[in-house]
Symmetry: C2
Subunit: 91 residues, 2 copies
């Protein structure tokens, strides 16, 4: 059993209105040292694969096919092995 943390972010050349809005909000709250905010998605998947290699290739394929949009987004992910029982409960 593996837990995959997938980070999906907009490519650097893509406009990010959500990030700009968050930066404005932070500036309005007095955090004027914030120069840039980029927004993205953080997905935590629990995958019932027996070994790390197959978990890695499955998550890679999921990220390419569904979790990210290759035209405007990049992704990366981290894999952590988890015990069977605590996998769902721990997060």
């Amino acid at each position: 059993m593996y837990r995959a943390e997938v980070f999906v972010s907009l490519k650097p050349v893509v406009n990010d209105p959500e990030g700009i809005t968050i930066r404005s909000g932070l500036h309005a709250l007095g955090f004027t040292k914030v120069q840039e905010v980029r927004s993205g998605k953080y997905l935590v998947l629990t995958v019932d694969e027996a070994d790390e290699a197959s978990a890695r290739s499955a998550v890679e394929e999921m990220a390419r096919k569904l979790l990210s949009n290759a035209v405007i987004e990049d992704f990366r992910f981290e894999l952590h092995q988890v015990a069977e029982r605590t996998a769902v409960e721990s997060r």
Copy 2:
């Protein structure tokens, strides 16, 4: 200059319809070994603070005040020092 990666996730007890929808989509694509998907936000901030301690306390306060909703969300973040010029360009 610091780059902060902020991970905002729903608390484990909070329902996550987006995560459930993503899991359904993955199952429909044949990824039937996915047991759970939890969705969250991934924010990358570039902060013009001189030292790590002040960057850390600023980002902590931003996350508490604006980036997350303490009632339903948890957050954590990682700080990385970056060079002045490449900070905005590198991501």
